[in-house]
Symmetry: C2
Subunit: 534 residues, 2 copies
């Protein structure tokens, strides 16, 4: 099943032509270049991909729900069919352990199947019917029927830190395809081989399901050239992105400046504060410290939801906790990060924050990081609430890697001020006893305005793919807090409502016909029901 | 009940201080200035209003659904309680007939009550619960509960053409308040007295319901000063606007350039094409012509959904129809437009399009317009498909007033090319026989990508306020095709999802508690149900 990699973009199922401009990925494990050289797409490739996507849009959007669901399931089967060669390539390209990648593949395929189930069930289209009232006074009412329809071609930027679950066939792609939109992926330059293998799997699924080839393309290339050209292309109707705040905001700005602005869903920067209330610090502080250390270290700290801030009240319990936490961090072994650039940024950003006045080192890994293996070593800093509030850089810098900053408050008021000083976050976490939590209503209210997900007595890493998940939050966590990029509600980013007025049944989508052939839940005369209209 | 107007902004229930900068509205009926002079708000007023809104947000957002619904209903009662003095003032300020304003008041109050009903029923929050699975392998699942919560203070720009239904307590305000957000209205300068009367009614409702006064404010002022300041204010979380493309885009650009961009829902420019298929032209062409004329003339053509374009195939039936349509337009009496500026723009834009090569006059009103009564006279132009396709100005200029442009195609292919040339629209309308429609699948597919609402054998004016309505569409019809500004789904513009993970019941909103006290529809383990969780 493993074919030799060609290193080319895949446009509507076909490898693109050779390009003189090539780049070779570096394995972070040993800093050695990997084969083959990757051909960097140019403007003509962007145009071919978006034209193919536009041509595929109408037939793909009209596909019956069951056929669209079968396509998503087929993608999962094709990815599994690649076998463990996919994991081995991803390991070489990202340094992530094989077991982690095995789990990530499971998540990726499970995600595709979950979206398939939602599409097959069908109620997600939010169908609403207000039947005609010809005798209404003073004016008759027309027959009005509304549902969500796909937007058009969607561009997805693969993310470096989840080479399967947030990349070529990850959550953004799965949700955009599930919603009925063709997808063009801009592959992340750190794992082009993994990207090609997955893209070929998607292309096989497209062929197997007899879909127009433009339903899916993948481009290799430099973000500032290919990424910008994709966000500007008049055929593209939305963009999904996971990555840095600088890159996400640049894409947002390009899309907002178009003659016809389009939405950009960029998931960017989040510090994911963890607030330790007194009751949590009077309990098993060692277990709490181990749990927090594990969350900080997960994936070598390269999770969007890594807890990068810890707030707590000064107390003997806190001293206790910090001693355990420092010991755990000291014992944490350095590990290979995703690529040399991320590793260098990590150590540079950590050094910058270490140099901020009022900041001291609480703990660092006892073993030095091996530069030749692109390792990152854990670091935890500590500061006072007063210093934190006085230095915006401490709340504005996401140190991407095994890092956290502990902020010690002297009063409950200071703890509230810390919470209020936060910018938008993906998550906020509270640890406390039942009594702590019962008294924490004001704090919860503040955190609810800051974050997309509130966690109680748990840790923010580990984002469940399910209907109730919100992976999003106010700026700069994302560019649009009104949506999630994980979970089934992610589809809602890529649709818009259309209303049909007095339209003959034959021209209506099946979801809006009287008979309700799929038995979906519909809002009829403002009441939810699965019944047909007599 | 009618008090003397004070001509001041109303900030958190209190009239603002006098300002040296005042402006007097002009009645379009006789071009006479109206009392009192209107004090123009400045930056300090903006800050006071947004600070009050921010202070009101938390208590208002936490209000029980029944209390929020009662507040919306009380606003309706207070508006009705003003009595017909409101209609008389609106008539003086806008020139709209009293009967039309009476209907618009009914629509405005009905809209508030409809939102109240949706809030009271409660399922609109899209609650989703994935209960904990502590024994799941390989990893346990946390308890995840998600619902939509309000965004924060919302700014609403009153529109000139619906001084009640799209103004101070119109659809944007009603939907933002229904969703749990404080509202600051920037009043339209053409009907400040009407705005003050309605704003005082809303303030009375705020007081009667014991809500924090910052839940509602209204500012008079110049758009480029007060409007821009509101869109830039860091406390403001979203903007609703109905008006010109230039002003809407300017607001969008201001909001997108913020350090933390916020959504702007601007409903702007739409030509609302009406396509006459052959079967429609072989039937009762006189009735069709009368219906179209009525739609073009409704509100002196000052509707967002006025049919400004008519596409048809050259035929004897079309000649027949055009003769009837021309006669109806010639007989249409000129009438007072909303204000002198709109009247001047109308005649200037109509003259500009008349001068485009290939464009001729099909018909104009037989009676001249009286300038001293700010009258607009109907005009219908005609051109060929080839000329239309060659002159982008013809598809990019919304002539706001009693105007339409008939475009005659020589073939079905040309008709498709016309449809494909369109930019985004609020509506698109098809007239045809059953056979025409059965063969129009491709045309419908093109129009569905262009418009938010497709109408068959009807007319686009008259936007029903109901769950199934979509008043929105691709740019430049709006800045965000994913939402509607009319109907109950308009609330979805002003909310975002939040997920609570392993949160004690007492800290959860009632909608997410096991008992489901309001009996709302919830998605539990991916199944819709009103049952409680045992």
């Amino acid at each position: 099943m493993i074919q030799a990699l060609h290193g080319k973009s895949l446009i509507a199922g076909q490898p693109a032509a050779d390009e003189a401009d090539t780049a070779r990925p570096i394995s972070p494990l040993d800093r050695q270049p990997l084969d083959p050289p990757i051909h960097q797409a140019g403007g003509a490739d962007v145009r071919r991909a978006t034209e193919a996507a536009e041509a595929a849009f109408l037939p793909y959007s009209k596909l019956a729900a069951a056929a669209r669901a079968a396509f998503l399931e087929r993608i999962a089967t094709e990815i599994e069919g690649i076998g463990d060669g996919l994991l081995e390539r991803a390991h070489r390209e990202t340094g992530l352990p094989l077991e982690r990648l095995r789990g990530e593949r499971g998540r990726t395929c499970g995600q595709l199947r979950l979206f398939a189930a939602v599409v097959r069930e069908g109620s997600w289209v939010d169908a609403r019917i207000d039947p005609a009232q010809p005798d209404r006074q003073p004016l008759p009412r027309a027959d009005l029927r509304r549902m969500l329809v796909p937007l058009g071609p969607v561009v997805v930027f693969g993310s470096s830190n989840f080479p399967l679950a947030f990349s070529v066939a990850g959550g953004d792609t799965a949700s955009a395809l599930a919603a009925g939109n063709p997808v063009i992926v801009k592959a992340h330059s750190a794992h082009p081989g993994t990207s090609e293998m997955v893209a070929e799997a998607v292309a096989r699924a497209v062929r197997a399901c007899g879909l127009p080839p433009g339903v899916f393309s993948m481009l290799h290339g430099r973000g500032q050239i290919v990424g910008t050209a994709l966000a500007r292309d008049p055929r593209v109707r939305a963009v999904g992105f996971t990555g840095s705040q600088a890159a996400g905001r640049a894409l947002f700005d390009v899309a907002a400046a178009r003659p016809d602005p389009i939405p950009v869903f960029a998931e960017m920067a989040s510090l994911n504060p963890v607030i330790l209330l007194p009751g949590a610090l009077s309990g098993d502080t060692k277990a709490l410290a181990t749990g927090l250390k594990n969350s900080v270290m997960l994936g070598v700290g390269q999770f969007c939801t890594k807890p990068g801030l810890v707030f707590a009240l000064r107390s003997a319990g806190l001293d206790n906790f910090l001693a355990h936490f420092a010991a755990a961090i000291k014992a944490a072994a350095p590990a290979t990060m995703l690529h040399p650039g991320i590793c260098e940024s990590y150590h540079a950003d950590a050094a910058d924050l270490s140099a901020v006045p009022g900041v001291s080192v609480l703990a660092r890994a006892g073993t030095p990081a091996k530069a030749e293996a692109t390792e990152g070593a854990a670091l935890v800093l500590q500061t006072s609430a007063a210093s934190f509030l006085a230095r915006p850089t401490l709340r504005e810098t996401e140190v991407f890697g095994p890092f956290s900053l502990v902020v010690v408050a002297d009063s409950t008021n200071e703890l509230m001020a810390l919470a209020e000083s936060l910018t938008g976050q993906l998550t906020a976490t509270l640890h406390g006893s039942a009594d702590d939590l019962a008294a924490a209503g004001d704090l919860v209210a503040v955190l609810q305005r800051k974050a997309g997900r509130l966690i109680v007595n748990g840790f923010p890493t580990g984002v469940e793919v399910c209907p109730a998940m919100t992976h999003g939050g106010p700026y700069p966590a994302t560019t649009d807090a009104r949506f999630t990029s994980v979970g089934t509600a992610a589809m809602l980013r890529f649709v818009r409502p259309v209303t049909w007025q007095d339209c003959p049944e034959a021209l209506l989508p099946p979801e809006l016909r009287n008979a309700n052939p799929s038995g979906i839940m519909r809002l009829i005369n403002n009441e939810l029901t699965r019944h047909p209209i007599p």
